[in-house]
């Protein structure tokens, strides 16, 4: 009985074909909707990336004649003294940016979240630096870092500390640039934490309160664990962003003093557009992409392991 029923509901050969045709036509409509977007991506995103890989094995001349040189570019790169400097700088930049800018948004988000009035106002105020174009922010920061009449040296004057040469002093140039980046980025991160905080149910806090937990304990045992996944993700995004930084050092220090603030992207820019060595610059960009990818994949693996352990 059951078998007969099944047999009856099977498609005939004819209806199978029509079903396939129907699905195909549906797919075609879907691809038609996506086509313009995919074309744009192909032309100015995916094709250039592929071309970058190709160029990294070539000696590219601006007149359009390229010759294959195998791994020459990469061998040259290994002998480039900038290689070590650039990655050391990136590491230092990342450490400074984690130190100066990583916890500030968490702190601010918790403060704003606890406010009963004018929440929206503070959201906008803290978001404002994010919408200021970098090239404009840089001009104002030059004022602030000015060794003679700058704002920051004014603050130090209150404490009787002598004026500092923020952007020219090798020890201060990196943190100074990281400050500018932090100023421009912390608004976005604060908003992300704020939205994450909104998901915590009030009952948790009330239960903690009834159990006599202090405010510090409430933050430690409820707020922070809830924010933890977001914090780990933003950690990675911040490192990725710092390694790719270009505009701030380009406009503020040009990589100086010495090569103190030379970043990978700045070096690539110099090679490609100042010295017109496109092939060599491409080899550098390929390396940069690979490093960033390895970092992201490593993070994903670690993250998956942690989530699995927590689940078990």
């Amino acid at each position: 009985m059951k078998v007969a029923y099944r047999m009856n509901t099977l498609y005939s050969e004819n209806s199978l074909i029509s079903r396939f045709m129907f699905r195909l036509s549906n797919q075609i409509v879907a691809y038609l909707f996506m086509l313009p977007a995919l074309l744009v991506f192909g032309l100015v995103a995916w094709y250039p990336v592929a071309r970058s890989f190709q160029m990294s094995f070539q000696d590219v001349s601006l007149r359009g004649v390229s010759t294959w040189v195998g791994l020459d570019n990469f061998e040259l790169m290994q002998r480039d003294p900038a290689l070590d400097i650039v990655w050391e700088n990136s590491l230092e930049f990342a450490s400074w940016s984690i130190l100066l800018g990583y916890l500030l948004p968490v702190f601010l988000a918790i403060l704003i979240r606890e406010m009963r009035i004018a929440k929206g106002f503070f959201r906008i105020v803290y978001f404002l630096p994010t919408v200021v174009p970098v090239s404009i922010a840089i001009i104002v920061w030059r004022f602030i870092y000015d060794p003679d009449a700058g704002f920051l040296n004014g603050l130090l004057g209150v404490f009787g500390i002598e004026a500092q040469r923020w952007l020219q002093d090798p020890a201060l140039a990196k943190p100074s640039i990281v400050m500018v980046m932090t100023w421009g980025a912390f608004g976005t991160t604060t908003l992300i934490y704020l939205s994450s905080l909104q998901d915590i149910s009030t009952e948790l806090y009330e239960a903690a309160e009834l159990d006599g937990a202090s405010p510090i304990n409430r933050i430690r045992h409820i707020t922070i664990p809830h924010l933890a996944p977001m914090m780990s993700l933003l950690f990675v995004l911040q490192v990725l962003a710092v390694v790719q930084v270009f505009t701030e050092p380009f406009l503020l220090t040009k990589g100086g003093p010495g090569r103190e603030t030379l970043t990978p992207v700045l070096h690539i820019y110099n090679r490609a557009f100042m010295r017109a060595d496109m092939g060599y610059a491409s080899a550098w960009s390929v390396m940069l992409v690979i490093v960033l990818m390895v970092f992201s994949i490593g993070y994903q693996l670690v993250n998956r392991k942690i989530t699995k352990n927590q689940g078990a």
Partner: protein, 433 residues
């Protein structure tokens, strides 16, 4: 009147304590049964005294932190230490305030019934007083964050001499000089010509402003062109990326596409790429096909970069629209495209608005691509503002005026969009997490 900078910082810290006094004291006094105005008055007093004590503490702590031999650490320690001491002092002092009206108050509880919905712990007076302190921190930090923007706004209205005054002038006579010199080309006049110009009565107000500086306006500056370029490029690329993004997002949301997840991730990854990686091949490609330094070239690039964002964001919005609406429309004889245009679009308006604004802000502010892929014809304003620095002495007022004018549209747009800020900002993070 000049305010030298160190005084500014003293005023800043002082203001913080006044704010703390003004917000926290009324809370404490209200719980003890005093009238509101008394609390405000006492708050002002507490704030002023608190600020004075803080300054005193800084002076006292100075020799101690000096012995550390680490100036920066010392400064941080004196600020935090001073603040902590005052807060503890205030917290202790608050217990000595006598209860007015015969001590009806239950210990730790609210004095008046709580008629609004809140967390249990939030009605405790100590908590509410601390809340006021926290609010003061948020306000003063916000003020600090805004300093660069405020300073820029002020400089934009300063005269050439005031803009470079050291220490910076806080009070000055506002003038439009900065804006005019940004937008015009001028010629220096000699005394005879100035006298001659002053005789004329066909001068517009901006001519007269510049005449006081001994200059005559002879035409528009390059910056006007840059601004127009920015407008055209940001506008077109926004329209394109939102339009194409809508189509693609609709397809992703409504059809079963094989390998959909991979494709979406691939699209998102273009946003994560370091721009310089694509810039080099694009630079070469654009030179070959004559797109370097043209509108279509840079518009196409911005469109691609915004498209990944707009596909993801819009897909989220379209996912929320029930499928049943369009299915009903399809049954009624609409084609897919009609259903899309007449059913889905009207319901996705908020999503479209949010995406538009974020795309516009990106294209409006973008610096690196514009620097590398445009020269003159299609150059936008952001890379040309710093280059104003180089031409014949630094016109700070003009630079500030340009920056301010450039910033205003974006700020207005952000304000109009404030409800969707969170959504636009969190899209990438939440999708990946």
């Amino acid at each position: 009147m000049n305010i030298p900078l160190p005084d500014f910082w003293i005023a800043y810290f002082f203001l913080f304590w006044v704010l703390v006094g003004l917000t926290a004291t009324p809370v404490v006094l209200r719980h003890k049964g005093y009238a509101g105005w008394l609390g405000a008055l006492a708050g002002l007093g507490v704030g002023v005294i608190g600020g004075a004590v803080f300054m005193l503490l800084l002076v006292v702590l100075d020799p101690i932190t000096d012995s550390l031999d680490r100036p920066f650490l010392g400064a941080v320690i004196s600020i935090l230490g001073g603040a902590a001491i005052i807060l503890v002092l205030l917290n202790v002092l608050k217990n000595f305030v006598p209860v007015s009206g015969g001590g009806i108050q239950a210990v730790g509880g609210p004095r008046t019934p709580v008629a609004y919905s809140t967390r249990v712990d939030k009605v405790d007076p100590t908590w509410q007083a601390m809340q006021a302190v926290r609010a003061s921190v948020v306000i003063m930090l916000a003020a600090l964050t805004l300093i660069p923007v405020l300073w820029m706004s002020m400089t934009a209205f300063k005269s050439r001499a005031d803009a470079v005054a050291s220490p910076p002038k806080v009070i000055f006579e506002p003038t439009m000089e900065g804006f005019i010199s940004l937008l015009t080309k001028r010629r220096q006049l000699n005394d005879e010509q100035i006298a001659e110009y002053e005789q004329r009565d066909d001068l517009a107000w901006y001519d007269e402003v510049m005449l006081e500086r001994g200059q005559a306006i002879i035409g528009q500056s390059d910056y006007v062109k840059r601004l127009r370029n920015s407008l055209i490029i940001a506008g077109s690329s926004t329209i394109l990326s939102v339009g194409l993004g809508l189509l693609a997002a609709y397809a992703f949301s409504r059809f079963n596409i094989p390998g959909e997840g991979d494709l979406l991730f691939f699209i998102l990854s273009t946003r994560m790429l370091p721009p310089v990686v694509v810039t080099i091949p694009i630079f070469l490609m654009y030179r070959e096909i004559n797109l370097y330094d043209t509108y279509p070239g840079i518009i196409l690039l911005y469109t691609a970069f915004n498209l990944s964002f707009s596909v993801w964001l819009l897909k989220g919005f379209i996912d929320e629209i029930p499928r049943e609406y369009e299915e009903a429309a399809l049954v009624d004889g609409y084609t897919r495209l009609q259903a899309f245009a007449k059913v889905v679009l009207p319901q996705a308006v908020t999503g479209i608005a949010a995406t538009t604004v974020f795309s516009f802000i990106f294209a409006w502010n973008e610096y690196a691509f514009a620097l590398m892929l445009t020269a003159d014809n299609a150059r936008t304003a952001p890379p040309s503002i710093p280059s104003v620095l180089g031409t014949g002495g630094i016109e700070w007022a003009a630079i500030a005026a340009g920056s301010l004018g450039f910033l205003i549209p974006v700020v207005l747009v952000t304000f109009a969009l404030r409800r969707y800020l969170l959504r636009g900002v969190t899209f990438g993070a939440i999708r990946q997490g």
